[in-house]
Symmetry: C2
Subunit: 191 residues, 2 copies
């Protein structure tokens, strides 16, 4: 998605350790106009016939998730990170390793909000090692729900998450895939 690549090039910053900072428009300050355009792109890219929910994980996934859910006219369901809230009753859970927090994190979803009659699109702002997405996919499978696909804003193509998910056959679409990011600049896949 050219508009997103242009925005990353203009405003993104590369920090040591391959950290790509886009917190001026994606995950601290959020450009909702860009989010809307990304949501429309997902609506074109995926067959969302019969979709019942958009699924994401707190925290920064919620912004793009809410706009996508609004665009597609279905509820947003967001998975919580353990101990973050009062969740009662039966739960789906998946243990992942968070590279942001540098520790194990448990993803939790109340069984009430996802089941075998659901057909969901997973969205998230970032894909790097793919641990959060592995957890989300596992929760969709536990629920017996149907997975339409996975829509990502920015994929760090030089980390393994995207490759692993594609090899497993998931319908993964990333709106911008960064193959290289260092002091000399940012290179996108397909350019």
């Amino acid at each position: 998605m050219k508009q997103l690549r242009d925005k990353i090039r203009a405003e993104g910053k590369v920090l040591p350790g391959n950290i790509i900072k886009v917190d001026g428009f994606l995950n601290h300050r959020v450009d909702v106009v860009l989010m809307r355009d990304m949501a429309k792109e997902f609506a074109r890219e995926f067959d969302t016939t019969g979709i019942t929910a958009v699924l994401t994980v707190e925290a920064s996934g919620i912004a793009i998730g809410a706009i996508c859910a609004d665009e597609l006219g279905v509820p947003l369901v967001f998975v919580k990170k353990a101990k973050s809230d009062n969740i009662e009753g039966g739960l789906y859970r998946s243990d992942i390793y968070s590279y942001t927090y540098k520790k194990e994190v448990t993803l939790l979803l109340s069984r009430q909000w996802l089941g075998e009659n659901d057909k969901v699109l997973i969205v998230d702002d970032f894909l790097a090692n793919g641990e959060a997405l592995r957890g989300l996919v596992e929760i969709v499978e536990q629920a017996g729900a149907e997975l339409i696909g996975i829509g990502i804003a920015i994929e760090k193509g030089f980390q393994r998450g995207g490759k692993l998910l594609r090899e497993k056959g998931y319908n993964l679409k990333s709106l911008a895939i960064i193959d290289k990011a260092d002091e000399s600049g940012i290179e996108f896949r397909g350019e």
Copy 2:
């Protein structure tokens, strides 16, 4: 807002300890149609002339924040809870007590995303003891930004947060104020 009160009455659950569970439409599964109607209500209730951003705090504030920002045509800025991410450079910070986590939590916002030329509306899904809002207001003051007001979906009127903020003169509007919640049911202020 009658629509929200009706939804709380129909789907909300009261748990021991005055916990009001509305996670079927507000903060786990999110009814974005209701969120849009709440955003329109805030747009009517507040004078948003010259607004530059909607401000909230992660995680569950992001859903209502994103829809409000979309409705008002401005960016969303969400404050982070300490250690949650890679934040560089100058920061605004406020230390609050989180009754959910039962510990001190530091709210952080990069100085890049809020300054003295900003005019903001704070929104959040819940107001109980008001600690998160106290922190958000403190950050707006540190930034020298103008505060239009504070828009809340559900206020627990039997806890002190709303009273404290109103006494300090903030323009606080809660779309549903619950004055009593126990096994016998939920009572709303003004009904």
